[in-house]
Symmetry: D2
Subunit: 227 residues, 4 copies
Amino acid sequence: MNPTSLAGKRILLTQAQDFMGPTLVPLLTEMGATVITDDRVLTDPGLPAELVRSAGHVDVLIAHLGVPAATSTAQEGTEEEWRIAFAAMVDPLPRLARAVLPQMIARRAGKILLMGSASALRGMKRASIYSAARGAQLAWAQAVGVEMAPHNVQVNAIAQNLVDNPTYFPAEVQAHPKFKERIKWEMPLGRLVSAQEDAHFAAYLCSEAANCFVGQVFPVCGGWVPR
Amino acid sequence: MNPTSLAGKRILLTQAQDFMGPTLVPLLTEMGATVITDDRVLTDPGLPAELVRSAGHVDVLIAHLGVPAATSTAQEGTEEEWRIAFAAMVDPLPRLARAVLPQMIARRAGKILLMGSASALRGMKRASIYSAARGAQLAWAQAVGVEMAPHNVQVNAIAQNLVDNPTYFPAEVQAHPKFKERIKWEMPLGRLVSAQEDAHFAAYLCSEAANCFVGQVFPVCGGWVPR
Amino acid sequence: MNPTSLAGKRILLTQAQDFMGPTLVPLLTEMGATVITDDRVLTDPGLPAELVRSAGHVDVLIAHLGVPAATSTAQEGTEEEWRIAFAAMVDPLPRLARAVLPQMIARRAGKILLMGSASALRGMKRASIYSAARGAQLAWAQAVGVEMAPHNVQVNAIAQNLVDNPTYFPAEVQAHPKFKERIKWEMPLGRLVSAQEDAHFAAYLCSEAANCFVGQVFPVCGGWVPR
Amino acid sequence: MNPTSLAGKRILLTQAQDFMGPTLVPLLTEMGATVITDDRVLTDPGLPAELVRSAGHVDVLIAHLGVPAATSTAQEGTEEEWRIAFAAMVDPLPRLARAVLPQMIARRAGKILLMGSASALRGMKRASIYSAARGAQLAWAQAVGVEMAPHNVQVNAIAQNLVDNPTYFPAEVQAHPKFKERIKWEMPLGRLVSAQEDAHFAAYLCSEAANCFVGQVFPVCGGWVPR
């Protein structure tokens, strides 16, 4: 069988209406996966376990957690902004892991793909809250990836930025002249990464072909970070 | 004047009895700095502001936040372990920044040096909680570093590991045969980094000579991570 | 059409009998590509141009250049070992680029995929000659990748290590107890990356799905380097 | 004794009139070192050994090799440009190592500091020749650094860019409006790194305080690369 196929895979996708969800669901489905979706932001501590329980058999968990980035400066950011970012993007990770890893370890097969952000790899102004949360995610995926490797469970992360998606780059942002100048200067690719391109790469990382990657972070940002 | 000198600098050091504190305090003092210390773990949300207020003029804040690492696996780690790690090592950062940055921005001079961990740069087993917290720290320092650069305020981080210190490598750990084998295999340096070496590098990054570094992460781990 | 397909692509592969060649050729062919192969080490300065000329239309050039690594120490390595490594692995790159880029720029479509080495990303003993040559390759791919991006030509690199292949890991190396201990300590994956896994990833990077990657280096080494 | 001092150190500096030389010589001297200089580009294969022989006891070799960067595109660069860059910046490295390492290994003490370039860490247009040569340098330093560590000989590299120096950023380049816009967009620091700042950091890496760094690459580029 083609190891890049997702035929027969049961993929659990969180926050399926946001961020990359609207592109991921049809693509993964088209590639043969059964995509089990949930649309809630996972701030409630009980949700991750509930989600996994009701999903049943999960071959791949796509940890897809994103909320609009606070744009406060470091001296102005509030406790509330910090709490929201971590509650939605960071705290659910260990809960998801506790819920889903036992079945994967028992089967000696499974994957977690974190849809993370390159903002953790390169500093940006007015993004310290968001970047900190994203940094926790990537370091977590690296550590759990190394830990789970002997169980034949692969945990990896995409670190994306400047990918066309309605959560972070709505039309009004893209239309702004300053944004166009930013693309020109900061992005070797010269255009946003398309949602399709990002989703195809995610699909690859969900497949058996990617069994060799463990605890690895893959930038998907058109050259915004070099590696 | 020698730009590597710390003469006349007022340096605020948190958790001064732990981790690198016992080495940093005498060295920074010997190099001419006035070191203002506090010994508490900064879990209480009000402490950072109180600390900075009572310190008065702060030229350099050394954000030195560390608690013993939980060693649970990803499937076993508890909410409590997660909460402790983030409450002690991550949540204080924005509070410290809100408290100390305004005076630095006003003077157009100042530095924050984060004593972070290389565990955020390379995955380790049974370290996902700790690594996640350390990852939030490094990404935060990168972002705030880029944001503060135009104010002539430099925010950087040391990402250390395998540095001889009583918090993370007490004598009984170092004496263990498995630890010696780990050093042999994982650490090109072939020995722990000494606390003095780490502290000297930190002192350099606190000095005017380091004004050119912004939002940068410096591994200090004897080659455990290559860059 | 499925953007991960290679149907109709003309792929030029150098040193097709060595290294990853025996796995790449059948896989790329099976995925629909016409693979044009050459078996020579490209030391002769005139070969790259000749190769491209006789290949005609080239959609993707796989710059697949490898010779067995010298294992001399830095104080013992010879001029001859250095010259051989650079003549075979480094000097052909700009010649290949001069030969193949004009047609890609003219068509505003094309790719170069460098099959590079992670030895350029992490130091190893007795590998300075080899690593230096591999470092030249990766930096070259990053630079040409940024330069070619506006032409819609994508240049990227795989940085592999510990991938099962007869050039670098023949059976007698794999059977050695020291090698097994090395895998255990240095490689989170716990086994060599299979040639198939590496080749599938290379195939992905040759496809239209990978148009968003420019000047990027992808480690394929089972976690031997974290990113 | 202060481990950051260079008192009594004999430092051999190559190409001492170029690049960072005019700043390094007086600073290292002021810090107590005896600086042995040579002004030639080391293209001649016999020069490195001759240099080391006539220098006698060398505590630290600063491998400081730089020639103006070719600015050809990848499709236009010539054999001659490639040959000049590698002959001046890359090929001398193993010759210097063969000449200077034996005395360091014998004494179980010594350092090589490579003054390298961040152009090997991030792609730039019209810089593929130069970047490739610089990439060979950095990968070489990483490998030799790991190899020499057990001998208590430290080999490390600075990867600089956008440091004020007459070889790469003469006044006419700095005055150009496009250059100013580049600084604004690409460099979080918002100004060139001063030659003094770079030289102070190099001096630190030449001192005993830096004995804990092996095979490490330190970006000095005002945030142009994040790590």
